[in-house]
Symmetry: C2
Subunit: 514 residues, 2 copies
């Protein structure tokens, strides 16, 4: 990283003389402009008062921390150039269930500690809807706001202690969350988000004073919240698109972020179309009795030998199996289908399943892990109901993608890079997802896992001062497509409920037994 | 005034619908942009939190108070459109000795109450130098700052009581003062102003939060301080130039502001040159024993019948005479010279002075008002020493003007309007000043009194949102000319010490006896 490309710049000015008697503050402004191209930075009165003595003591050499947001640019602090301490920023991935916080050195651009904790608002309600309702009760919004602010403050405290630095060395914070989480973080009522016409209070929050939010970092520190496009397309996705570089490439890319909703962004540096739709919770591992999010002992990969129909199961950290996550389910479904144990309609084939087939209360099941090998002492079983749920999810996912591309008028083959975001994206095997027809049959190298792209987008913002323009350009270019569940959509959806698809010619690489 | 040209705009937006589901804050931003062309206004978190409920309650019709400064634009408040109260601003002429405060209705642009009071910093020291030295002592700066802030707060309190409104109805304040007064007002050390290389701490203060300054107006109110060009050319003069319209006219104009220093600004909308020089305190009425600033009983005009040599003396408010002010002195000198009672070198001519001539301790005097007619019971007498002082002042004034025009390469005849600022400007008779050769021999209609142009500039800023660009364009275009007292300057000065000038052909309209 170019050390001069971020929010900290080292300046060395000629001291004032009779030939160049610009005022101290203006001398600094002039030098900031020379180095960064930023015309005027607002300087807080308290800092303005200290400026002349500091510049003079330091021989007109200093290290400036500044920031720019759509509302204006400001100088946050000036320090001696030899200052040995870290000048830090905090990136926050503000998830509905998990919050991840990362310490970033604003000078080197390097990431240091990363910590994750459960969003304490979960104690109020696990999902967005419950929290929005709670926020409408007397004192509800204030409590939700306080919970998240206090939790982040505590985490910053722990991080700073671990890094051996004072809180006031943290000058910037970048927060990427969905629209509701960002509203609650800012202490702004999210009530409009769930009520017709479904509008957030704010889309562009800008860079707020940390002090006004109650965030305990440097007293002049700023907190930037990634902007939303609307109620269903939040700052977390903008952060991801920014991290993936949607502002700088003319190649068409797509990002798919799968959670309770599937959120999709398609386009390039010239145009962007977004949509979101319920892809079904099956993909998050939330439906089947043994479904769970990734963790030790959770099955994340399944292969079945097509000849012997022997199962190869791998778990996270190689712990005895206790459940299965979304990507494990996709793997399993692909393996069952490719080995002929499941037909093109997603129905378990008793003959092909052999010993593993069971029927309970008239519902077909397949045993994934027998009692004696499971960590719970009970067999890990997937039922036809679980599979049906997965079928609906994968069909919805494919239909959303198809509808979006159809709207724009391009083919799947036009997509150069297909990013899969989130934890889901880190574990999913594109080959399996293609096999069940959840994602298009593109060369495997087209697919890329983005990891925690919200967090990475927030980190990138803290280290690149061009970020602000890039983010604004992404946000402002997005056309949000409302997915109308009309006849067209339903027809596509029905066709996609087959494995891999009614029109198998769309998946030439998937060879399966029938 | 166009009611929509100021810092208050009335907005009427379509309420959100499924077809136009922009967030509330962004809806407001979009409408502000439509009305004002200002792209993004920063919105304080506290206001952002209240925004959606307010907009909703008011049916998406509201009155916005906003402000723009070089560092950024911000929304100060939103009110219901039917709000009956005044939305006010306060203009401040922050003089070294007197402070004038005016209440302005930001919606109608009308000025209401005006109040003046002595700058309470006078108790520390009457002049700038003493205050700068005092500011360097422990606690000195804080005390000077507190004195002026508290005095202004008290005055705002009185004005608000008189206008029957609450303090929080004042949203904006514009302050025009010289460089040192502005520093003390901001609580910023002025020490560099009087020490080589004579640089202020700050030239462009921007719009500071009233709260940060301790100014008791609306809690989100902003205080704009006019920028300085340097130590000797302050915001008061920029305010005057703005009031006179130097940003919008291609005709060449000049402003002369006479105080302890004479400050001069020459140019048009394309270029500006400024300088300042000691024109001598004689012009402020500060030298002769009977010299004083304008007030009741102070002689402000003198005429002498050239035939009978009878004196016609007028005093302010027609009170019995007790002294003479600067413009009175100029009038007197012109009358003495034109009547032959003073020669071209400024020496009293005993024969021509007749009875009025006296000599005390070898120094010639002329009696202006005999004992029996003076309010003090003593004769009001002007000595040769007083006249010599005036000669030095008027010669310095003319030399400064000549040097400045010479530097730019234009003639006096190229000047379309010659503004004289300040109290001095309100009383001076151009005819008299021309007669003694203090100002060039231009048609009398070229001369215009600007009155309290600092205050008027501050008022104009509060009522015109284009003001900010105009002020920046004036400030940034000014070339400050350091007057070097070199041989050229001294030669010109010597020539200007005659009445009206060694080269009498420069003053063809002045006919005098020799």
């Amino acid at each position: 990283m170019d050390h001069d490309a971020g929010w900290v710049v080292d300046l060395s000015m000629a001291p004032p003389s009779l030939h160049d008697n610009t005022a101290d503050a203006d001398r600094l402004q002039r030098e900031i402009f020379r180095k960064t191209g930023i015309g005027t930075v607002a300087i807080d009165l308290a800092l303005l008062r200290e400026l002349p003595a500091r510049l003079n003591n330091w021989g007109y050499r200093c290290r400036c921390v500044f920031f720019k947001s759509p509302g204006g640019s400001f100088l946050i602090d000036i320090l001696p150039i030899e200052d040995p301490g870290m000048i830090a920023g905090i990136a926050v991935d503000l998830g509905t269930t998990r919050v991840v916080v990362e310490l970033v050195d604003l000078v080197t651009g390097k990431s240091h500690l990363q910590k994750a904790f459960d969003n304490p608002q979960c104690e109020i309600g696990p999902d967005i809807l419950e929290r929005v309702h709670y926020s409408d009760r007397p004192g509800g919004l204030a409590r939700l706001h306080r919970l998240i602010i206090e939790a982040i403050n505590e985490e910053i405290g722990r991080i700073c202690r671990k890094a051996g630095m004072a809180r006031d060395r943290v000058y910037l914070m970048a927060v990427a969350g969905n629209t509701t989480m960002t509203h609650l973080f800012a202490g702004i009522s999210p009530r409009g988000i769930i009520r017709e016409p479904y509008i957030p209070a704010v889309n562009r929050f800008g860079a707020v004073r940390a002090e006004d939010l109650g965030i305990q970092i440097n007293r002049r520190g700023r907190v930037f919240m990634f902007p939303n496009v609307g109620s269903y397309f939040g700052g977390d996705l903008i952060a991801g698109a920014f991290y993936a570089g949607f502002h700088s490439s003319r190649d068409i890319s797509i990002i798919v972020d799968v959670g309770t909703n599937a959120e999709v962004l398609l386009g390039n540096s010239e145009w962007l179309v977004a949509c979101a739709g319920a892809a079904g919770p099956a993909l998050e591992g939330g439906v089947s009795e043994i479904g769970m999010t990734a963790g030790p002992g959770v099955i994340d990969a399944v292969t079945i030998d097509p000849e012997t129909r022997e199962f190869q199961i791998s778990t996270i950290d190689d712990q005895p199996p206790r459940g299965i996550c979304g990507s494990g389910m996709i793997d399993l479904a692909a393996a069952l289908f490719l080995s002929g144990m499941m037909d093109i309609r997603g129905r378990l084939v008793p003959d092909a399943c052999g010993d593993r087939f069971r029927e309970t209360d008239g519902i077909p099941n397949i045993v994934l892990v027998p009692e004696e090998m499971s960590s719970t002492g009970e067999a890990l079983v997937i039922s036809q109901v679980d599979i049906d749920s997965l079928v609906r999810s994968k069909a919805a996912m494919y239909t959303i993608l198809e509808t979006l591309l159809n709207y724009v008028g391009i083919d799947f083959e036009d997509i150069k890079t297909f990013y899969v975001a989130g934890t889901f994206g880190s574990f999913i095997k594109p080959r399996s997802a293609i096999s069940i027809g959840m994602i298009p049959d593109l060369p495997e190298e087209t697919y890329r896992s983005l990891g925690n792209s919200s967090l990475k987008g927030a980190v990138r913002l803290l280290t690149e001062r061009d970020a602000m323009d890039a983010i604004a350009s992404i946000r402002d270019r997005i056309t949000y497509l409302e997915l109308n569940v009309n006849q067209d959509f339903m027809n596509r959806y029905s066709a996609a409920k087959f494995f891999p698809h009614t029109d198998a010619s769309r998946f030439p690489s998937v060879s399966f037994r029938q």
